[in-house]
Symmetry: C2
Subunit: 245 residues, 2 copies
DNA sequence: CGCCTTCTTGATGCGGTTCAAGTAAAGTGG
DNA sequence: CCACTTTACTTGAACCGCATCAAGAAGGCG
């Protein structure tokens, strides 16, 4: 684990996606930061059915939450972007019900699980922020249920790509040409959408052929956003002022 | 809206599912309770894409959260039981991303949205409890993604029935014969599992014929729990000490 | 260079949808 | 109290979206 880096020089915080925070609260967060952790692609950040007493903020890189059935079938629950909290969800009570794996090399801010209580006690406003984050992530998982339950394969893929593009942009990862990194393999996409890799491949190609997306060299660019959203049967939704711990 | 009922006489709180709370916190909750609301089956408790400034605790009866696609396809996200909070999830930030509908006649405790902040400020422990509830609900939605994405139709139904039975029992709704109320129609089950009503019907009958479940007259009883769990490819999970607002 | 992972394409088959009817039970109004 | 409607459930038959199996092509990487 590297030496802690001061939160005031956090590269994420200045982004418009994130809510400004008072110097006092920032200092309080920084004070409780245990350290910084770098992990390579594929590393397990959290393991299914294991207890952990730490809490992470994803500072750089991508990850994903997943669950597996007893016979090995895997379902990706959602994708994690810079700024996301890791370890809040299942573990609060007992062993984690899901695993978290790094999609790229990642860099994590590390907190002790108990810091949560300290944050709440010293700065009740932070509790509201955590509630916000938690509600926001649940909303994303809600969208996943909707996709997997009721959208066709093509619709699911369109919805996922729109979602990833939006979140990656929000994390400041878009180039001036509008493209964002896309570190997911087609197997990841398939596991996120409840599809087989083969069919995922075919539907991706259909979107490519119609020019709705460009996807090559690990980068994703969207053609016409509103058409894609129509394909996905998407309803528009805003989400400003995200808190960042 | 009926006149408020004191929380000390809340019929839910004595149940073993719920965490004991200090008299002081209880009084603080009771003080912020705006009133009590009774709604009939089918009533809309929350409407998709509308803003609400109230928060509810489901005191009696069942409800469900759902989302719809722009062309009307509906997906049920999860089922709400007595003790569940309503209105936390999407609405915190803006308009609710999902709707909530009563599955039976329901009785709700009503709070103002801002009470959340007051609770956090006056009793930071409550913030932890809300975080617990939020994490717990996300875990349930996680399970839904897993089911819908990776389980076969039969497995999904088995998993849902086990889950409903467990939660209904926890809410004190089980009879001495082990049966619990089951107010869902087959259409509800289908919409919760991403299936068509027709196929839902056939799989339910298969479970009935093999004696794994009894389902009649609006009540559900499970045959052999561990077999059912094996059918569902279920991993066991405990969940004690649920907080209740 | 050879191995491994990812992506691609074709062929075949099944799990689940859709369409269509019919039954049963519960509410509704005269 | 009985026709009438409505909602829930059931069953059969045809079809299709997607999974599965199989094999090949195209990169990374030690």
């Amino acid at each position: 684990m590297d030496a802690p880096i001061p939160c005031r020089s956090c590269p994420l915080r200045p982004l418009p996606t994130f809510k400004p925070m008072s110097a006092e609260i920032l200092a309080s967060i920084a004070a409780r930061k245990i350290g910084q952790l770098r992990l390579p692609v594929g590393a397990a950040i959290l393991t299914e059915r294991e207890t952990g007493d730490r809490l992470f903020t994803l500072m750089a890189g991508w990850a994903f939450r997943f669950m597996t059935l007893s016979d090995g079938r895997r379902q990706i629950l959602n994708i994690l972007f810079p700024g996301d909290l890791i370890g809040l969800q299942g573990e609060l009570m007992a062993a984690s019900s899901h695993g978290v794996e790094a999609l790229t090399d990642v860099s994590l801010c590390v907190f002790a699980r108990d810091s949560l209580w300290a944050f709440y006690r010293d700065h009740p406003e932070l509790a509201l922020d955590v509630t916000w984050l938690s509600a926001h992530e649940e909303r994303i998982v809600d969208e996943a249920v909707l996709s997997v339950g009721r959208r066709t394969a093509l619709e699911r893929i369109a919805a996922l790509l729109v979602h990833v593009h939006k979140r990656a942009s929000g994390a400041g990862l878009a180039r001036r040409d509008g493209s964002v990194p896309f570190p997911l393999t087609q197997i990841h996409v398939a596991d996120a959408l409840g599809l087989s890799p083969v069919h995922t491949n075919r539907m991706l190609q259909r979107l490519r052929r119609t020019g709705l997306i460009r996807l090559e060299g690990g980068r994703l660019a969207l053609g016409d956003l509103s058409t894609l959203q129509r394909v996905a049967r998407y309803w528009e939704q805003p989400a400003p002022g995200r808190p960042l711990l």
